[in-house]
């Protein structure tokens, strides 16, 4: 049932543990993002899956077939790396046809397939160009075509878009996703960019220090992070501690919040800044007891698409709220923050344990 299974994967480099006891499964046709800060071992994991590195321990199965002793060229996987890495001594067409040539396909057929594939990445007529004549985005499209043309069982992408500028990145995300939808290829994307992982992947595997911390759908990772480090990596900014009495969560400042979750005892709480609402006029507050906190705006940052407003609620409690870009708020102004009951999320007191058992894969 599981298409790709990674069990107990471990890799060390001269005493430094790059990947430690990693478990992961993927369903056929799934797009999974391996997300984490640089140096967390996600690229190493990708190279282990591709067979370019040998694990110290653990096993990799593709379609139930053990892969540990299969050389990279016989794994039926393809790799797209940062900056495309097109072979500089070959033309664009020859680059795309490379995998087919290695499989012994004759010249006429592989040229035909390469040209058809270039057409699909919107680079028709580029087959005679040199890689040095291409822009970064074009090179990355050729790299994608070169990987997809061999019909891989698993497409591995290592930071494929991080060398591109923002607009181009969005365009390439759309292109990759539409090609994935057409070919139904299973894709494992390595990225350090949580926004990219969120847009592209059906599930995100978050990795810290060589271990998987949480494997979940992007929305769940945002809303229900398993610990503070995960929440912070996913862009979380609001953290504070409450004393919970079932649905009533008491702040140290004496105020209390009503949560849709029940808990007893001290609890670390996080709030997504986009889930909060900001009011400048007490008359317009929603008619919900408790969950409106009054404070003073102490910072107001315009980001283009929104305003990041920091509100000091109590001496030890500030909250960041995303306001509308047109809502101008003066520093020192008195404001109200409305916290929806379902926006409150309690974190366990300690970092959550590494994902040690395979979690069920999402069927696409």
């Amino acid at each position: 049932m599981d298409y790709l299974v990674v069990e107990h994967l471990t890799k060390q480099f001269q005493g430094h543990v790059a990947v430690h006891d990693l478990w992961l499964t993927m369903a056929q046709g799934e797009v999974l993002a391996l997300l984490g800060p640089s140096g967390c071992g996600k690229s190493t994991t990708l190279q282990l899956v591709a067979g370019l590195l040998h694990p110290d321990a653990g096993a990799i199965y593709l379609e139930g077939r053990p892969m540990n002793h299969v050389p990279p060229e016989r794994r039926d996987m393809a790799l797209v790396l940062q900056r495309g890495l097109l072979f500089p001594h070959l033309t664009v067409g020859e680059n795309v046809a490379f995998g087919l040539k290695m499989r012994g396909m004759n010249r006429v057929d592989r040229d035909k397939e390469a040209i058809a594939m270039l057409h699909r990445v919107q680079l028709q007529g580029f087959e005679h160009r040199r890689p040095s004549e291409l822009s970064g985005g074009q090179a990355q499209r050729v790299a994608l075509a070169r990987s997809l043309v061999i019909g891989p069982k698993l497409l591995l992408l290592d930071e494929p878009l991080s060398a591109l500028d923002a607009n181009l990145r969005e365009e390439m995300q759309d292109l990759i996703l539409s090609l994935q939808a057409q070919t139904q290829v299973t894709m494992l994307i390595v990225t350090h960019d949580q926004a990219e992982a969120t847009v592209m992947a059906q599930r995100i595997a978050l990795m810290f220090d060589g271990q998987l911390r949480q494997v979940d759908a992007p929305e769940r990772l945002y809303r229900y992070p398993c610990d503070e480090a995960t929440a912070r990596f996913m862009g979380g900014v609001n953290f504070f501690t409450v004393q919970a009495e079932q649905h009533q969560w008491h702040l140290p400042s004496g105020q209390h919040l009503t949560s849709s979750l029940a808990h007893q005892g001290p609890l670390r709480v996080t709030l997504r800044p986009e889930a909060l609402r900001l009011y400048t006029d007490a008359a317009h507050l929603p008619d919900v007891p408790g969950n409106c906190l009054q404070g003073e705006a102490i910072a107001n940052r315009f980001t283009g698409t929104q305003r990041r407003i920091t509100v000091a609620i109590a001496p030890n409690l500030t909250l960041q709220v995303w306001g509308s870009p047109t809502q101008d708020i003066a520093l020192g102004q008195s404001v109200w923050v409305y916290i929806p009951a379902d926006a409150l999320w309690g974190l366990p007191g300690e970092p959550c344990p590494p994902v040690a058992m395979p979690s069920p894969a999402v069927q696409s």
Partner: protein, 307 residues
Amino acid sequence: MVGLTSKLSRQHLFQWRRWPTWARAYLLLLPAVGMIGLLFGGGLILACLQSIGIIGILGDTQPSLAAYGAAFSHPELGRSLWLSFYLAMVATGLSTVISIGLALLLRSAGRWTTIACQITLPIPHLVGVAGILLLLSPSGFLARLLMALGWIQSDQDVPLLVNDPNNWGVLLHFLWKEIPFITLILLAVLRGMNPYYEHQARALGANPWQCFWNVTLPMMKPGILSASLIVFSYIFASFEVPFLLGSTRPRTLPVLVYRAFTDTDLGKRPEAVALGLILSGISMAVLALYLGLTAKSRQTYAERGDS
């Protein structure tokens, strides 16, 4: 106004930084190029004048091409030319192929490989030649060692490796000297190469041999070409190694030139100079041909794709 502008431009003349870049580049190159031009070009012109009889050695200055006629009809010219070419080709080819293998083997080894390759670089060819004579000549170290071990009865039993008709000694010397040199260059090329190109090739389905043939070797090609070009042109015109280690007959072209030049008959000097100029001409023609061919192959490689 006119006075002002000319004053300004005269000021500019002394302001080095305001000179155009090309002018500064040429001026900075002038000492080096001038030196080479004076010593090398001057010598070449003098030799030319000597060979066509404009500058005489015995006082007779009668312009003629007689020296070239004599040089071209020299009985050994053809065989000497062939021998020089053969030695340069074989030594360059062998050391290039061996160096490619060595560089691939040593690419992931530590810094010691670079140092090891540099050991032979400062040793002059003459010292290498002396070493080979001491080691391999019929009364050399190897013969005495084998005799002491009782493996051979007399020094006549060791194969002749110096001054032999097959020029083994010459080839051995050049392999000893040039393999580390080419390996050093290729190691630098390989270590400067992004290893992900090869990873990419393997992931796309290339086995290690296909990866080497289709990716590693083509990417090493510029380094291989320039290193082998340097080695080829050196060996082709090398004098002291074939002179000391080579066969007595036929002789390589540089040895032939030297013999003619040191002939007791001073009347043969113009012929010797003409032979030397023919050697230089052939050398340059071979280099030009080599460069032309490889430039073309570099271009066509892309179109062909298969190698």
